[in-house]
Amino acid sequence: MHKNLIRLFGVGTLLLLTAAPAFSGPRCNLPGFNTNTLPANDDGSTGAVPIGFTINLFGTSFSMLFVNNNGNVTFDSALGTFTPFGLTTGGVPKILAPFFADVDTRGAGSGLVKYGNDTVNGHNAFGVEWGSVGYYSAQTNKLNSFELVMIDRSDVSPGAFDFEFNYDGIQWETGGASGGSNGPGGASAHAGYSNGLSGAANVSYEFPGSGVNGALLDTGVNALVNHTNVTLNGRYLFSTRGGNISSEPTATPLGAPAATTPVLILSGLMLVWIVVYLKKRRTV
């Protein structure tokens, strides 16, 4: 009887393990980050929305920003550009771009862009969620899920903040109007940040694989979900102190993908079950 139960549990666990997604979700997706919604649109933006705290970014203080549908936030004006430009060349807006590409949330089955405030480790935070968003033109056969989190660290110094780019899944890289076909190809996505200035004044960063066909996709050589500069694949943390972004990511893959929470729970349960079973056997 016990043997059969053990076998049944083992088979069930194995099935659940194989059904579980391979990676945990680095997105925080906190409730407060989903407070406000940018209605279904293509190339749309919010008006200036409050960050909830003041940040010093590239030497300028900002307490408002524009959430742009196409995978980025800007600080001086909204950005409707659908074909992503390179972030390191200068002459662009001040921008934080977790995934600058032609997001289109009009298709049935696409998530919407959401944003708002919550707390991260006791610090005020502003988050933008691009959860399961489609691509132009209203395509939803492939979806991307990523997030920007800005964390107030004015406890360290005035205007200090951290920001995270978090990626749960990147299945498409280019909209149809940017030369993409069914998700890949064409002028593919760029991810990173820029102070917008040209020449020696330029401060910017792009993830390796930006603008390279296929590179940032989950299956790509520079897959955003398979690298990190912290300890969780798909998460990239930048610290901004005194207006300077001090920790550029040396995005490296972790040795093994992080296990999902359900997998950990199931493994724990199985261990407990085996211990209980062995104890009972000894007492019999």
Partner: protein, 111 residues
């Protein structure tokens, strides 16, 4: 009597053809002309394919899906990517260079 019937029939046929024509089809003029932007768009939809010209320059890679159209066009040696939405007789077109720079929004009105 026969002539009247034929006239009525041809009018109905014309009406049906107009109704069946894709919303993108036809010639449009710029409502907000801006420097370097095309003034005249001629578009023709065939299934999901979109063909036509912008100020005489032949468009490429054109596609149409319901009220959305997108295409590339080379003008003055520069490749532009365009995407637009048709609402009534108005086509709202966003245009950038192929590298994503120089975004501008254009409006075209159907003739």
């Amino acid at each position: 009597m026969k002539n009247r019937f034929a006239l009525l029939l041809s009018m109905l046929l014309c009406g049906a053809l107009v109704a069946l024509a894709a919303p993108a089809d036809g010639t449009r003029n710029a409502a907000n002309p801006s420097q370097g932007a095309p003034l005249v768009l001629v578009l023709q939809v065939n299934g999901a394919a979109l063909t036509g010209s912008a100020d005489g320059a032949v468009i490429s890679g054109g596609k149409a899906a319901s009220a959305n159209i997108w295409f590339n066009v080379v003008r003055g040696g520069v490749t532009f990517s365009c995407k637009g939405t048709i609402s009534g007789n108005t086509l709202t077109l966003a245009e950038t260079r192929a590298d994503g720079s120089g975004l501008r929004n254009l409006i075209f009105i159907h003739n």
